[in-house]
């Protein structure tokens, strides 16, 4: 059996896809589901551009087979709408070419959700999984810190 039907929850909607067993999640997202937000850049788990959230945690979608994600809930950049982190990425110019942005946004979003009190070392550790070649990272780090601070003040 080279292909099979896999059930996935994508951005809150249940989908059935018929995929090759060898197919990675990024391929399914982009080519079967038309969700181009996950970017291929190394296909080796080294750069984070293809990051999606699987059950709320960031995962390199180039590094997981689609069949491994049966019945899991996947969030892509297309599924994040009007979040504070996106708004702040825009406001702080934490974006240049934008190719790494979906990965960074999802990673940062998950960081803030799972570690709402993250200190600088934790932020660094999380952000080190993604590469940005344009900005020099300062704006991205600032943005994450800012959103963590904002949330802290709101509570």
């Amino acid at each position: 059996m080279l292909n099979q039907v896999v059930k996935l929850t994508i951005n809150g909607i249940e989908k059935e896809v018929y995929v090759r067993n060898a197919e990675t999640l990024i391929h399914t997202l982009r080519h079967e589901l038309g969700l181009m937000g996950a970017k291929p850049a190394c296909n080796n788990g080294d750069c984070g551009a293809c990051t999606v959230l699987v059950d709320g945690l960031p995962l390199n979608s180039c590094h997981t087979l689609t069949v491994e994600n049966e019945n899991r809930s996947i969030t892509t950049i297309e599924g994040l709408t009007d979040t504070t982190i996106q708004e702040r990425f825009i406001k702080n110019w934490a974006i240049q070419c934008g190719y790494c942005t979906p990965g960074f946004v999802l990673n940062s979003y998950a960081l803030i959700e799972t570690e709402p009190d993250a200190d600088d070392a934790t932020i660094d550790e999380w952000l080190d999984s993604n590469i940005c070649r344009c900005t020099g990272y300062q704006e991205i780090k600032q943005t994450v810190k800012e959103v963590i601070q904002m949330r802290g003040t709101n509570e």
Partner: protein
């Protein structure tokens, strides 16, 4: 020029492309897919230098889904932007590890890749050259045996047949004998670094389709859609008008997408399958080694100065390592020569700059185009001179800073417009990095904190006829579409162009719609989006197009307002009478034809067009280098502060600072972002980026896992400031700034670490291992 009362220029206008990017809505080249598109995959060389005895494609052809396999035999001709030296697919021999040997076209990408793995290549290995110093020796084996038959594509490329020299640029200024005689003190040093990479996050990608009428459609992640059109036209003998090139937003470039490579291959692939649409997407590994890289360099430099620190003579030998093919390497070796002295007045200059073939991945333009490279060499030499003279490094630079009235190495006369203010940049960086607290201090835990400084300059090595155009089309609501072939690859160029237009038309930014994608069929010609030249070239074109539109708006507006065109002005969405603004007509009522109350109409559509071309540039004299290589020199100064651990030979980069004379900053946020990002790229390169090769010339680290680059936790605090000495013919006085953040980083980092470690660090990257070797005297 009145730059005091500006409404849009000089303001932190929000970038127009960020919202779509933050929400994942932007489509890059590889995000568009058309049903029925075939996929291509490369089979690349496993040898760095070898004759191809046999390429067996039979198994691949039989593999499921495969439509065609092509090899160098399908197009045995050389192409190249400056010197035609490279077959798009290796022909008869390979000259670097990773060179494309065959291309498989199949229904699915995985089928193409599988079949590419079935191709069997029989190699006859040849001696491998890994150093340009070695490669220029008389007895060195030739990498290009038939160089004398190669076509020179651009005047001014001087290859030397029967050697490995693809280009030689000579600079002869003043008289070296006099220069050395006037020098009390000299320093002489050698420098080197191997090739590295741009590593843009979006790998290079191209698609091609050939219609039955011969029209060729190319979709490509490129910095130069018109350049792709030009080179494909020259290479395949197709009328340029029959080649359409489309480029959406680009996912980072850094010069690496200013060349043409995959476009040749994918055109051949489409041709092999009857013109069907074929897509070719680089894997990261291919993008790092098969596609062109960041150039390497080996250099000798000698400086002479009086005992008071006045520079008198400078002599340079640059051996640029262009790898297997010259591509833009032949241009970078020239660019390195024309600005070899850095921003210093030196009357006696001698430079031989060689572009040398080796068996390494081939080089193309990298952000800074030869200048991060020459600046590393020159600025290390300046620090060595300062040390020998016992003069403060900043004082030495201030003392020799080039000024209006001086001449460049190619004897271009500088005036108060065409060069920025080096001294002001140096004085400001001194404050920014807190130089007065001392260049070296020791922390309580035994670490050493040191500061390193550089100053730098760069002119844009554009062709003497580099041009850009802009078309403005008005909508029925009075808003305007801005069309230009400037590529948005992250730098914010589209926002900056819109700001210039908003200023010129005095129109709300919201009323300006910039077409983000570029299509050679609809957009006016632009040379490329490279060389920090777009704000200048396309910016001037915007101003010209706006003036054209204003002229037309005034003509029709005046009729509507029953006055003369000279009586009216354009602004705030209106054409109004200068001294009685209450008499006006809205642009929306004029821009697509003005209708009188009785129904009669005049005017038609208002379409503003404008262009700009660089002027008075000349090729260089082949013997002396005399000539004008670029329109103007942007200058700056940079500094680095490191904390060095003498026990471990490791270091942390604490601060990185840039002061740039930007002429006029059009958008401060954008400019600061460019400087920070530039510093990051320069520091990542200088501190750790390099390809590693084994004895056979095989690249050992063609992945992000092993090709190490700086990550978020490793970056310093960035400090940025600007000086503004207007460029008289720049848009609102602006100079090019895009590349400049990179230029001085390697020099500043090596200067600070040389002081910290007590050993002159003249190689890159500056890894702890290299520092240890230098301190322990283990390197040669």
């Amino acid at each position: 020029m009145d730059t005091q009362n500006l409404t849009y220029v000089g303001k932190d206008i929000p970038r127009i492309d960020l919202k779509d990017k933050a929400y994942g809505k932007v489509r890059y080249t590889n995000d568009e897919s058309k049903p029925g598109t075939l996929s291509a995959a490369l089979h690349i060389s496993t040898h760095a230098h070898a004759r191809l005895k046999h390429v067996d494609v039979n198994e691949a052809l039989k593999s499921p889904g495969v439509h065609a396999v092509i090899t160098g035999e399908d197009f045995p001709y050389q192409v190249g932007p400056l010197l035609g030296d490279r077959p798009p697919i290796a022909y008869k021999k390979v000259r670097y590890y990773g060179e494309p040997i065959a291309v498989v076209v199949a229904d699915q990408e995985h089928q193409a890749k599988y079949a590419a793995g079935l191709i069997k290549v029989e190699y006859e290995p040849l001696p491998v050259l890994q150093s340009p110093r070695e490669a220029i020796k008389k007895e060195a084996p030739l990498i290009h045996e038939n160089m004398k038959d190669y076509t020179v594509m651009v005047k001014g490329v001087h290859s030397v047949p029967n050697t490995n020299i693809a280009n030689l640029t000579k600079i002869r200024k003043g008289d070296m004998k006099t220069g050395w005689k006037e020098s009390d003190i000299t320093v002489e040093e050698k420098f080197s670094f191997k090739p590295a990479d741009h590593a843009a996050l979006e790998t290079r990608v191209s698609r091609a389709e050939i219609l039955k009428d011969g029209h060729v459609y190319i979709y490509s992640a490129t910095q130069g859609p018109f350049y792709v059109q030009k080179l494909l036209s020259e290479c395949f003998n197709i009328e340029p008008g029959k080649i359409s090139v489309e480029t959406p937003l680009v996912g980072g470039a850094f010069g690496g997408k200013g060349c043409v490579q995959l476009e040749f291959i994918v055109y051949l692939a489409s041709r092999a399958v009857g013109g069907r649409m074929v897509s070719l997407v680089n894997t990261r590994e291919e993008d790092l080694i098969s596609s062109p890289v960041h150039i390497g360099l080996e250099a000798n430099v000698k400086l002479g100065a009086t005992k008071n620190g006045k520079l008198k003579a400078a002599s340079y030998e640059f051996y640029f390592n262009t790898g297997g093919y010259s591509d833009m390497g032949a241009g970078m070796s020239k660019a390195g020569a024309v600005d070899c002295t850095g921003p210093y007045k030196i009357d006696h200059v001698h430079c031989d700059s060689y572009c040398v073939y080796t068996n390494m991945p081939y080089a193309t333009s990298f952000r800074g185009f030869g200048h991060p490279e020459l600046t590393f060499v020159m600025e290390r030499a300046m620090d060595l001179l300062a040390e020998k003279l016992a003069i403060d490094p900043i004082e030495l630079r201030l003392m020799n800073a080039i000024k209006p009235g001086d001449t460049t190495p190619t004897q271009t006369h500088l005036n108060s417009s065409n060069i920025g203010d080096v001294s002001s940049c140096l004085r400001r960086i001194k404050e920014l990095i807190n130089w007065s607290e001392g260049q070296s201090t020791t922390t309580q835990d035994g670490k050493v904190r040191t500061k390193g400084i550089t100053s730098f300059w760069k002119t844009s090595s554009t062709p003497p006829n580099a041009t850009a155009g802009v078309i403005l089309i008005f909508n029925i609501d009075g808003s305007v579409n801005l069309n230009s072939a400037a590529i948005e690859h992250g730098q914010g160029t589209k926002t900056v162009l819109a700001q210039i237009l908003a200023e010129k038309l005095q129109m709300d930014m919201k009323k300006i719609h910039v077409t983000m994608e570029v299509n050679t069929k609809y957009d006016p010609h632009q040379w490329k989006t490279v060389a920090s030249s777009t704000t200048y070239l396309a910016g001037r074109a915007v101003m010209a197009a706006a003036e054209d539109a204003i002229f037309q708006l005034k003509q029709i507006g005046a009729v509507a307002l029953k006055c003369l065109p000279a009586d009216v002005v354009v602004g705030n969405g209106k054409v109004y009478i200068k001294d009685s603004p209450e008499f006006y007509v809205n642009i929306k009522d004029v821009a697509v034809g003005y209708k009188f109350p009785n129904g009669n109409s005049i005017g038609g559509l208002i379409i503003g067009g404008g262009s700009h071309i660089v002027r008075h540039l000349t090729p260089l004299d082949p013997e002396t280098g005399y000539g004008k290589p670029g329109p103007q020199w942007t200058v700056g100064a940079q500094a680095i502060e490191v904390e060095y651990d003498p026990q471990e030979y490791t270091y942390k980069i604490i601060k990185a600072a840039t002061v740039l004379d930007a002429g006029k900053v059009i958008n401060p946020n954008a400019a600061i972002g460019q400087m920070r990002g530039g510093m990051y790229l320069g520091l990542s390169w200088a501190s750790r980026e390099t390809f590693m090769f084994n004895e056979e010339g095989r690249v050992l680290n063609p992945q992000f896992r092993s090709y190490d680059i700086l990550r978020a936790s490793e970056v310093p605090e960035y400090l940025v400031d600007f000086i503004e000495t207007p460029l008289v013919d720049g848009p609102y006085g602006a100079r090019g700034i895009g590349e400049y953040g990179v230029i001085g980083m390697a020099g500043a980092l090596s200067n600070s670490l040389s002081i910290a470690s007590g050993s002159s660090l003249n190689q890159l990257p500056l890894t702890p291992e290299f520092i240890w070797e230098s301190v322990e005297g283990r390197n040669d």
